[in-house]
């Protein structure tokens, strides 16, 4: 095949970030005349970085980008747009309070003779253009009233109006319910028939099999392979994605018998989870996994009092437990590590010390009711060294730390409260491989040394197998399967099957 048959060709693309080689000589191609190509890999594999290089967000340090056979050594966001490359993200870039028509014409509203907006032309024009794409939708509706799928379709349509021929969908379906995914896929297939090429980034492998013709697999900043989807099975794709772990941590169970620390019976919150029954032993680490929106994180937030808990029986060390706000949860020894570290975990401008002692300040008072700074700094330096937070001092504002160290500070905060139950929502999200292992070791040590009962919520099943005693799978709000991590029959594939609803 000659070069001309490629719409986009990236050759040997390399990108370094301080301390990390994000891309190491990646090749990536899109055929002309339309293609639906999946791009898969673990978090941190370099998928988004590769697309950011393609769209000119990051300049590449080495390598070449060719569009329609012509090389562009200095790709910029403006240039990529002119070349017809567009990116649709998980979070909508549309203007919510404006109508669909206004969004379609955003920045280029047709005006009449007096320079006033010609609303008739705006509405008719938008209706017509969307009609040409096979969309029948009332263009006067406000974008904020649309479903997520509808918004993404409007965004793709906008990109197509701007003559885009390559459209990157970066985790576009993560927030979508099932039938909306069908709506989006139908639209994408129709546009592919018209010659548009799509790069589809997703963690949901069944979607790759459903939608894509070809798939590129990335791992650790490299392109591992380029396969037609028809030549793959889910198992072979998962193997290609995960590869062989360099360092692997294995948790040794410390689960003790006796009265369960936490037990839930028939806990139900309509719209979030239904009749959840589980019990957690002292020192036990239980994994909780499932698709986005299956209720696993809602359950943790409910138990911590950030959201209503719902109805049903909850016992903590044998006594009834309720938390209507986080204070009550913390006072009963239930601590929560939020998935959104920046939104809920750290107080960026404040020092490490203040972040760590926030939940326990009232316990650090001296005789005259003031904070004992000596006791506080002793406690903090103990935690910093035991969790191995890399920092010049405890006065360092947390926002200056790396993601992994920030996460350790949040852990230190939870540990300072001396919890009985830890609810960890995606504890290794957004931290590098080394820090991931360290965080798993912390979880393991808390379980063994302090007999903390831990729930680890994660979609990284391999990690759950490494750190947990048991793994529970939630599907549409209910626990549908339970696996023992040390059971020889427990495999990533079987758990993934349950995650996708095979147990139903």
């Amino acid at each position: 095949m000659g070069e001309q048959t490629y719409l986009v060709e990236m050759r040997g693309v390399t990108k370094d970030f301080p301390g990390v080689r994000a891309l190491a000589g990646v090749d990536f191609r899109l055929r002309s005349g339309g293609e639906l190509r999946g791009l898969v890999g673990k978090n941190g594999a370099g998928k988004s970085t590769l697309m950011n290089v393609l769209t000119g967000v990051y300049p590449c340090d080495a390598g070449e980008i060719l569009v329609r056979g012509k090389s562009y050594p200095r790709m910029t966001t403006t240039l990529s747009r002119q070349l017809g490359i567009a990116c649709v993200h998980q979070h909508s870039q549309l203007v919510g309070p404006l109508s669909i028509a206004e969004n379609v014409f955003c920045g280029d509203l047709p005006t009449g003779r007096l320079g006033l907006v010609d609303w008739d032309r705006v509405h008719r024009g938008a209706q017509e253009r969307l009609g040409q794409l096979g969309l029948d939708i009332d263009v006067r509706r406000k974008v904020e009233g649309l479903s997520v799928a509808e918004r993404q379709i409007i965004e793709i349509a906008k990109a197509l109006f701007a003559e885009a021929q390559v459209i990157v969908l970066d985790e576009a379906t993560a927030p979508l319910p099932k039938n909306d995914v069908e709506l989006l896929f139908g639209f994408v297939r129709r546009q592919r028939q018209r010659g548009a090429a799509f790069v589809y980034i997703s963690h949901y492998l069944e979607e790759i099999f459903e939608l894509c013709e070809n798939v590129t697999v990335m791992r650790d900043g490299r392109s591992i392979g380029d396969y037609p989807v028809s030549a793959l099975t889910p198992e072979s794709l998962i193997r290609a994605i995960s590869g062989v772990e360099v360092e692997r941590f294995r948790h040794a169970s410390a689960a003790a018998g006796g009265v369960p620390v936490l037990s839930l019976r028939g806990l139900t919150r309509p719209g979030a989870y239904a009749s959840v029954t589980l019990s957690l032993a002292k020192g036990e680490v239980v994994g909780l996994t499932g698709l986005e929106g299956c209720g696993k994180d809602a359950l943790a937030r409910g138990l911590f009092g950030l959201e209503p808990m719902g109805s049903g029986e909850v016992l903590l060390e044998g006594k009834p437990y309720r938390a209507s706000d986080p204070r009550q949860a913390l006072d009963r020894g239930v601590a929560y590590l939020p998935r959104d570290r920046h939104g809920l975990g750290i107080i960026g401008p404040r020092p490490i010390l203040e972040n760590i002692t926030l939940p326990i300040l009232s316990r650090l008072n001296n005789a005259i009711g003031l904070l004992s700074r000596r006791r506080e700094s002793e406690l903090v330096s103990r935690l910093i060294s035991s969790l191995d937070v890399a920092t010049p001092s405890s006065a360092q504002p947390v926002e200056f730390l790396s993601g992994g160290n920030q996460q350790k500070v949040v852990f230190a905060k939870l540990v300072s409260a001396g919890p009985r139950v830890l609810l960890l929502d995606e504890p290794t999200q957004g931290v590098d491989v080394q820090a991931k292992v360290e965080i798993m070791k912390i979880i393991d040590r808390l379980a063994r040394e302090q007999e903390v009962a831990t729930v680890v919520i994660s979609e990284e099943i391999r990690e759950l197998l490494d750190v947990c005693d048991r793994i529970l799978v939630m599907f549409r709000g209910s626990i549908v399967a339970e696996f023992r991590a040390r059971d020889p029959g427990t495999t990533v594939e079987r758990i993934l099957g349950a995650v996708e609803g095979a147990a139903q």
Binding site: G46, Y58, P326, R327, P359, L370, G430
Partner: protein, 338 residues
């Protein structure tokens, strides 16, 4: 690398004392009277009311909230206090009730707390924007002060009431002692109490504060109560200093209050700053005012210079945030990149 990144913010945090020194040096060269005991005492006396107001404002700012109404609360408390204390008819223009000074102070503080409660409840319970709420109450409360005495000036206040703004301990004016004590207490509260720490957490990241077991709404309501009460307390000092109650007391002062706080390192975006820094901001503004007066700069130009100082302060604050922004390290995963 880490020492370098820590040095710049540290310098920016202590910039205020350097500026104060520079301004002092400049004015002592430009005028002969600047370094006189009389002038320096004057600067401190003029700092007292502003300083008390800045403490209240700093509390709300640290939680990420404005209290624009503070200047009107000061005016209303002063007018009501004077009205309750003074005799009726010209030239006193009071109510004629001649209330006991202690009672009058109690009423003033209650008024301050009431304005604070209205602000705090509207912001936390009704989920209204703090700027809009306190802008509205600023106008309403000032209107109330005018309504009460129809804009007349109330005079002839009892001496026992005026002692706070007028009296002195040996050579030191009582208002200066009050200023020092107030900032000392505020510094201890912000540094060494759970309440103070909570304020920084709420302003630094409200949701993370909530998830750490803090009730942000309760803290925000509390800082508005404190701000209102301190405005009323400042009214007591101001009435003593001026000797008369005028409806325009405190009018336009909010800009100076905010400027002093921000120059002193209290961030308008919440979560950052120290009380000692805020005191530095108060002193710097007073030094500049006094210096320009000594140089007999025309009143019109003084306003302009003050405006420029406030602008420079805001510029500094914006720059500081930019300096403090950690190096944007795109995660290899780069899910944040958009």
């Amino acid at each position: 690398m880490s020492t370098q990144t820590a040095l710049v913010p540290r310098l920016l945090d202590n910039l205020i004392w350097l500026l104060l020194l520079l301004a002092g040096a400049a004015f002592s060269l430009l005028t002969t009277q600047f370094l006189s005991v009389n002038n320096l005492t004057n600067i401190l006396v003029h700092s007292s009311v502003l300083g008390i107001m800045v403490i209240g404002q700093s509390f709300t700012l640290i939680t990420g909230n404005f209290d624009l109404s503070a200047e009107s609360t000061l005016g209303l408390a002063a007018m009501v206090g004077a009205f309750l204390l003074a005799a009726a008819g010209e030239p006193s223009n009071g109510s004629g009730w001649m209330l006991h000074p202690a009672l009058a102070v109690a009423v003033m503080l209650a008024l301050g707390l009431a304005v604070g409660a209205v602000n705090g409840l509207l912001i936390t319970r009704m989920r209204m924007n703090n700027f809009v709420v306190t802008l509205s109450t600023m106008i309403i409360v000032r209107g109330l002060a005018f309504l009460l005495t129809q804009g007349k000036t109330v005079t002839r206040l009892p001496a026992s009431f005026k002692v706070l703004g007028h009296g002195s301990v040996g050579p030191v004016p009582l208002s200066v002692v009050v200023l020092g004590v107030a900032f000392g207490v505020a510094a201890v509260i912000t540094r060494s109490t759970r309440f103070g720490r909570d304020l920084f957490a709420v302003g630094g990241n409200r949701d993370a504060a909530l998830a750490s077991g803090i009730d942000p709404d309760r803290r925000i309501l509390q800082v508005y109560l404190i701000s209102g009460a301190l405005a009323a307390f400042a009214a007591w000092v101001e009435l003593g200093r001026l000797g008369v109650g005028a409806t325009r007391i405190g009018e336009g002062m909010i800009f100076e209050i905010q400027a002093a706080a921000v120059i002193g390192g209290i961030s308008l975006f919440g979560g950052r700053g120290t009380m000692i820094g805020a005191l530095g901001g108060v002193l710097l503004l007073s030094v500049i005012n006094a210096g320009l007066n000594l140089m007999q700069v025309s009143g019109f130009a003084i306003d302009m210079v003050r405006g420029l100082v406030i602008l420079a302060a805001m510029l500094l604050d914006a720059q500081k945030l930019r300096y403090r922004q950690p190096v944007r390290r795109p995660a290899p995963d780069a899910r944040l990149a958009a």
